[in-house]
C-alpha cells in the first residue's frame, strides 16, 4: 500500500455520493469528510513527494545505532531522528538548486504555498520515525486530541478540521512505510526478508549488537501486535478511508496469524538464503566482529556523511 493508494481510498460516505443532484454539496461533503485532504492537490503532491524522499541516504542501520556509535549524523541532529532529518535536508537542498526553479514555481509559486508544502513534507517524513519515543507520545496525544469531543468544542471548527487532517496525513505516511505488512502474504514475506538481510548485514559488519536471527520471529509478532495492527485499526476507525480500510486491517491480522504459524520455518529459509547470497562477499568473516574486509555493494559499512 502506498501513500497514493491510501489517498485513492479516501472516500466520502455512500449517502453523499448517492446525492447526484447537488454537485457542490457533494464536493463540500467530501472536503469535510476527508478534512480537506482530497480537496487540495498540493497536499496530495506533498504526500507522494514525502514518500519518494523519506529514506534518502538511509545508511541501512537504525537511528539507535547511529546514536550509539556517536556518528556525525547523530551528533549533527542531536540524537533525534537523524536519518529522517538527513533525508529531508538532502532532498530539500536538491529541490532548491537553481536548475529546479521551474519545478518549484509549479509546485509552490508563493511563499505561503512553499511554507505549506514544506510543513507537509516535514511532518510526513518525520512521522516515519516510529522509534523516537518522545515524538511517538506526542503524535498519539495529537491523535487523541484531534478526535476527542473536547477538541471539537474548545477550538474553532477550522482548526479542529486542520488538526485532524495533519495527524491523519502523518498516519498515512506511517502506514505507507510499513505497507508490506498490510498487503498480501507474498508481498509481506518478500520485503520482510529484505529487511532481515539489511539488519543481518549490519550485524555482520559490526554495526549492530544483536543478531536478527535471535529475535526476528518474536520481533515480528510484537511488531504486528503493538504497532501494525493498532495503526491499521486507527486508520479504520478514523473513517477517512471508507469501507476499504478494513482491507488493510484484515491483511495485517492474517499476516500476523500466518507468521505465528509458519514464521519459524520461514525464518530458517531466510537465514539459509542470506548465507548463500552473502557468503562470497563475507568469506572468512566472523559475525559481529566488524573486522571484515568489506567489498559488498551495500552501504552499511560506510560511515561517510553525504551531506557534508
Amino acid at each position: 500500500m502506498s501513500v497514493a493508494k491510501l489517498l485513492s481510498r479516501i472516500v466520502a460516505p455512500d449517502q453523499v455520493f448517492n446525492d447526484e443532484a447537488n454537485q457542490d454539496q457533494i464536493a463540500l461533503s467530501l472536503h469535510d469528510y476527508t478534512y480537506g485532504i482530497t480537496s487540495d492537490p498540493l497536499t496530495q503532491f506533498a504526500c507522494v513527494f514525502a514518500a519518494l524522499i523519506h529514506d534518502v541516504d538511509h545508511y541501512g542501520i537504525p537511528n539507535s545505532q547511529l546514536v550509539e556509535e556517536k556518528a556525525p549524523l547523530a551528533f549533527r541532529y542531536k540524537n533525534r531522528s537523524p536519518a529522517e532529518q538527513n533525508s529531508v535536508n538532502i532532498a530539500w537542498k536538491i529541490l532548491m538548486k537553481s536548475q529546479f526553479a521551474g519545478l518549484r514555481a509549479t509546485i509552490c509559486p508563493t511563499d505561503d504555498e512553499m511554507r505549506r508544502f514544506r510543513q507537509l513534507v516535514v511532518n510526513s517524513v518525520m512521522a516515519t520515525d516510529i522509534a523516537d519515543k518522545e515524538m511517538k507520545a506526542l503524535r498519539n496525544g495529537r491523535w487523541a486530541k484531534a478526535f476527542s469531543d473536547q477538541s471539537a468544542t474548545e477550538e474553532s471548527e477550522r482548526t479542529n478540521i486542520n488538526r485532524k487532517a495533519t495527524i491523519v496525513i502523518e498516519h498515512l505516511l506511517q502506514a505507507s512505510d510499513v505497507a508490506h505488512t498490510m498487503q498480501h502474504w507474498h508481498v509481506y514475506t518478500k520485503w520482510n526478508e529484505r529487511l532481515f538481510q539489511e539488519m543481518s548485514l549490519a550485524y555482520m559488519v559490526g554495526r549492530s549488537n544483536k543478531d536478527p536471527v535471535e529475535f526476528w520471529y518474536q520481533g515480528e509478532l510484537g511488531f504486528f501486535d503493538f504497532y501494525i495492527i493498532p495503526l491499521a485499526k486507527k486508520l479504520s476507525e478514523c473513517g477517512v478511508f471508507g469501507v476499504s480500510s478494513d482491507e488493510y486491517l484484515q491483511y495485517a491480522e492474517r499476516n500476523r496469524e500466518e507468521w505465528a504459524r509458519r514464521g519459524e520455518e520461514i525464518l530458517q529459509g531466510m537465514i539459509e538464503r542470506f548465507q548463500d547470497k552473502f557468503r562470497n562477499e563475507f568469506g572468512g568473516f566472523q559475525p559481529g566482529t566488524g573486522s571484515v574486509t568489506y567489498s559488498a555493494t551495500s552501504s552499511i559499512a560506510s560511515t561517510s556523511f553525504r551531506e557534508e
Binding site: S2, S8, D24, A27, D32, D55, K93, A101, R104, P109
Partner: protein, 140 residues
C-alpha cells in the same frame, strides 16, 4: 549492471509520471482559482518565466534551511478552506511546460541517486511505494 540501470530508469519514469499527474492537478486548481497572474504573497517564480538554468530565479535564504527539521513539526497545518465558487479545470486540459517535465524527471533521477544500495531502505522500496499507486490513482 545494465539491467539494474534500466530498472532504475523505469522506476524514475513511473515516479515522474505520477508526480506529473499531481502537478497538473495543482496547476489546474491554480487556474481555477484564477491565481496565475495574481498570486497572493510574494512570488518566487512565475509559470511564464521558467528557464532551465534557473538563473533568473533565486530562492530566498529562508528556504535554504538545513537545520533541525524535527523542530519544524507542526501540530496543526493549515489547509485551504473549501471554496464552493471554484469551477474546477479538468486536469486533462493542463499541459506542463516541457522544461518543467524535464526538471521533474531530473529531480526524481537525482533523488534516486541519493539512495544507498540497501536491501530494504532503497530507492526501489520508495519507488514501488509510488509505483503501486498508479493503478489506484486511475480509479480515483
Amino acid at each position: 549492471m545494465a539491467e539494474t540501470a534500466h530498472k532504475n530508469e523505469r522506476m524514475v519514469l513511473w515516479c515522474t509520471d505520477i508526480m506529473a499527474r499531481l502537478l497538473r492537478q495543482i496547476v489546474a486548481r491554480r487556474e481555477a482559482e484564477s491565481r496565475c497572474d495574481t498570486f497572493g504573497g510574494s512570488t518566487i517564480a512565475s509559470m511564464d518565466d521558467m528557464s532551465l538554468d534557473g538563473s533568473k530565479h533565486s530562492v530566498t535564504a529562508k528556504w535554504k534551511k538545513a537545520g533541525m527539521v524535527i523542530e519544524e513539526v507542526k501540530e496543526v497545518i493549515q489547509l485551504p478552506a473549501f471554496d464552493g465558487s471554484i469551477k474546477e479545470v479538468p486536469e486533462s486540459e493542463i499541459i506542463l511546460p516541457s522544461s518543467v517535465m524535464k526538471q521533474l524527471r531530473d529531480y526524481v533521477t537525482e533523488i534516486s541517486g541519493t539512495y544507498r544500495e540497501n536491501p530494504f531502505h532503497s530507492f526501489e522500496v520508495s519507488a514501488i511505494t509510488v509505483l503501486e499507486a498508479i493503478i489506484c490513482w486511475s480509479d480515483y
